[in-house]
């Protein structure tokens, strides 16, 4: 294993681990706030139990997210010192705001978790809202920095150096908003369906449980709304990617040859050698429409780019198919659920449907991992698109396989322990 590959693997593992906890940290405070609000309004004890049960889970998940996020802020330098040396002054600003938002989040979380009976009930409720709002802001700021890697802005690149730096233009780069919205909606969708799935299991075991029924309903509403919004937002992001990063879009869609009009390829396995996709379903003209809103438009293929600047096509394409597939399933399930909640609540009590929700519980997070793979692997070989290559950013320290193995081991252990702790929390409720 080369040092570059080890560094990339370590970054992938660290981000892949952190992103789950970050997403839960964004969405879960709002689920808790709904339940908490109902408790304060109705004084039905089931809502107090639910808020407290959720908050214990969140305490565990948030702490894991906080420490794994710290690891990332150091890993940027430990693994990519050259990148940070140049990127820091240009795109460091959103991280400063992220620091402030995260600070507020951590303070509010301390107040929320330990503030029961210590402060006014509504001030306590508000502290939960502050956790959620600063969580969303924190995520948006981080995505601003990531968007900058995809759509660099706010500087001129002269002789291998950034000059005329404008940190504000860098922060509000063109990719930031669309990517940030996509990620935020994904966080609500994944968390909503995961929580609904867990409580669906509770309802299967104990169909009369008010606790699980209320929890299932709150989580499902949040997840369903997000799942229905996501295809619309995803379409806007894809159109923007076609404009800003045509190589990434071409890899996502396995479009080897520039085509006018371009077909959409669903599924299949692309081969960079033969420049074809095996076993895929080709739908004529559809990619032209999806990318540019016109059935006859030209879509740039990978042939527009030198071979050494191609992202790994198979990984990007398959990850994208997984994300789109799950997004479609959850959007359909979400729309159906909203109808059922509104008109036919009894449908949601059938064992078969509950089992379906249980099976769907992890799907949103798989989609998040896949989507993140698309945006990161799809940008390769660049770390700053069109400016700096990943291989030129890596640390000169040899033996990077060792820290990579260390963090892989630690995160695998932690993932296992956190899952086990969640099972224990769940069983404890019953």
């Amino acid at each position: 294993m080369t040092d570059l590959f080890a560094a990339r693997s370590q970054m992938a593992i660290s981000l892949g681990f952190h992103i789950i906890f970050a997403a839960i940290g964004i969405a879960m405070p709002f689920l808790m706030a709904i339940s908490h609000w109902r408790w304060l309004k109705t004084k039905e004890p089931v809502y107090l139990d639910l808020t407290k049960a959720w908050s214990k889970g969140v305490a565990i998940l948030f702490a894991t997210g906080a420490v794994s996020g710290t690891v990332l802020s150091f890993e940027l330098g430990l693994l990519w010192p050259k990148f940070m040396e140049y990127a820091g002054p240009v795109s460091g600003l959103p991280f400063a705001w992220e620091g402030a938002a995260f600070f507020l989040e951590a303070i509010a979380l301390g107040i929320f978790l330990y503030g029961w009976n210590r402060i006014h009930p509504w001030a306590h409720w508000a502290s939960g809202i502050v956790v959620g709002v600063s969580g969303v802001a924190s995520g948006m700021f981080v995505i601003c920095a990531n968007g900058w890697m995809n759509a660099p802005a706010g500087f001129d690149w002269v002789d291998g150096k950034a000059v005329n730096i404008d940190p504000v233009a860098a922060m509000f780069n063109r990719a930031a908003l669309q990517q940030g919205l996509h990620m935020t909606i994904a966080a609500f969708c994944a968390t909503g369906f995961a929580v609904a799935g867990i409580h669906a299991i509770g309802l299967m075991k104990n169909p009369d449980s008010q606790f699980h029924a209320k929890a299932f309903e709150i989580a499902l509403v949040i997840g369903a709304i997000a799942a229905m919004l996501q295809p619309l937002q995803g379409d806007r992001l894809a159109k923007q990617t076609a404009m800003l990063q045509p190589a990434k879009l071409a890899a996502m869609e396995s479009l080897f040859h520039t085509s006018k009009p371009a077909p959409l390829v669903i599924g299949g396995y692309p081969s960079e050698e033969t420049q074809t996709v095996r076993y895929g379903i080709h739908i004529p003209k559809l990619l032209s429409f999806l990318a540019h809103g016109n059935f006859e438009a030209e879509v740039k293929g990978l042939d527009q780019f030198p071979r050494e600047n191609w992202p790994p096509v198979a990984v990007t394409h398959i990850a994208f198919q997984i994300m789109i597939g799950i997004g479609t399933i959850l959007a359909a399930l979400g729309a159906w659920s909203v109808f059922a909640l509104w008109k036919k609540p009894a449908w949601l009590r059938s064992r078969k449907i509950l089992r379906l929700f249980a099976v769907c519980a992890p799907l949103g997070f798989i989609a998040i991992e896949a989507g993140w793979t698309v945006t990161e692997v799809g940008r390769q070989p660049w770390i700053i698109y069109g400016i700096m290559k990943t291989k030129d950013a890596v640390t000169p320290m040899p033996g990077l396989i060792y820290p990579m193995m260390l963090f892989t081991f630690v995160y695998l252990m932690l993932a296992f322990i956190v899952a086990w702790l969640m099972v224990r929390q769940f069983r404890h409720v019953d």
């Binding site: 710290t70 690891v71 820091g88 992220e98 620091g99 600070f103 301390g110 932690l414 224990r424």
Partner: protein, 339 residues
């Protein structure tokens, strides 16, 4: 002007990380020495003292890192390359400490796993400050070599030496000392208060001894630390100040004057840090040929300006919120927390 302002915020972030975050690690270290008397009660006091605040206190470190890579990117880059190994170990400590602490408190079932959480929590509480001190020592020592000099010379020798580890141990003792003084005020029970006060006294003596050892180790590693201190008025006076404060601090601890003792111990640790800052200033990372100073490592002015705006705006939001947090959990009467 911009450069100095950003350096000031960096200094403040590190100071607060030590005073607040450092004490949380210190409390974890103290748990290793709870002794037999009222072990569980001591552990409960420690847990309840850290619980609501540790995540907020931890953010000071993230803030310092962000200021460093945005404001002084060359220094961040150089530090990350040279101190890859101790920084990685520090991160390991941060992850293990934070997770084990939270798992211990929130695990729905109380069984044998509590013992493992505690052991990992304590180990992480030692590892992080030790490595933090090691890196701080390395920044001052300046024993770095170019990458071409080989793995040992470039990535191990700059920190794997007597001086760096002496600073690391000094950091541990200082944090544990802070924690012991802070913890006295976390409980109403006289017996537990006395236990923590005794720990504070022992750690205070230990801090003086290890402090002397740091100076000796520096001489052995070719760093004329005593002479450097003597040549900087602020460093010297900070050190004298930190020593003089010992007298009122001991009186405050003995008389059970909790808040006065807390302020005095924070002032003492703050003075130690200020002494170090002056010694270092304006160098961030010392190196034989070309030390990286806040001037040579600084980002362009546009970056510094917007970073400063963000820091000031952030402070306006953060400080009142932080004060509110501390008011709820630290300034009011110590009482039992409920989950």
């Amino acid at each position: 002007m911009w450069i100095e302002a950003i350096a000031f915020f960096l200094g403040v972030s590190i100071l607060f990380y030590c005073l607040f975050g450092g004490a949380d690690f210190g409390a974890g270290m103290l748990e290793a020495f709870v002794g037999r008397a009222r072990r569980e009660d001591q552990r409960r006091v420690i847990t309840h003292a850290i619980g609501p605040v540790w995540e907020a206190n931890h953010v000071w470190l993230i803030l310092a890192v962000v200021i460093l890579f945005t404001g002084f990117p060359k220094a961040y880059s150089a530090l990350s390359v040279t101190f890859h190994v101790p920084l990685t170990l520090m991160l390991l400590g941060i992850v293990l400490r934070g997770c084990a602490f939270t798992f211990r408190y929130y695990d729905a079932v109380r069984d044998d796993s509590q013992r493992y959480y505690s052991a990992i929590f304590i180990a992480g509480s030692f590892l992080t400050p030790l490595m933090l001190g090691v890196v701080a020592g390395g920044m001052l020592l300046g024993a770095s070599s170019p990458v071409e000099a080989g793995f040992i010379a470039a990535f191990v020798r700059p920190w794997a030496n007597l001086f760096c580890f002496a600073v690391g141990i000094f950091t541990c003792v200082l944090f544990a000392f802070l924690a012991a003084v802070y913890l006295v005020g976390e409980t109403q029970e006289a017996e537990i208060r006395r236990i923590f006060a005794r720990r504070a006294m022992v750690l205070n003596s230990l801090a003086i001894l290890v402090g002397i050892a740091v100076f000796m180790a520096a001489e052995l590693n070719g760093l004329p630390l005593a002479r450097l201190f003597a040549g900087r008025v602020l460093s010297l006076s900070s050190m004298i100040g930190a020593t003089v404060i010992l007298v009122p601090l001991w009186i405050a601890v003995r008389r059970d004057a909790v808040q006065a003792a807390r302020i005095l111990v924070a002032a003492q640790v703050g003075l130690v840090l200020i002494g170090w800052y002056r010694l270092q200033y304006p160098v961030i990372v010392n190196a034989p040929a070309t030390p990286l100073t806040i001037y040579t490592a600084a980002a362009p002015e546009a970056t510094l300006r917007y970073l400063l705006y963000a820091l000031i705006a952030g402070s306006v939001i953060i400080f009142p919120a932080l004060f509110y947090l501390l008011k709820i959990f630290k300034l009011s009467e110590a009482g039992e927390l409920s989950k």
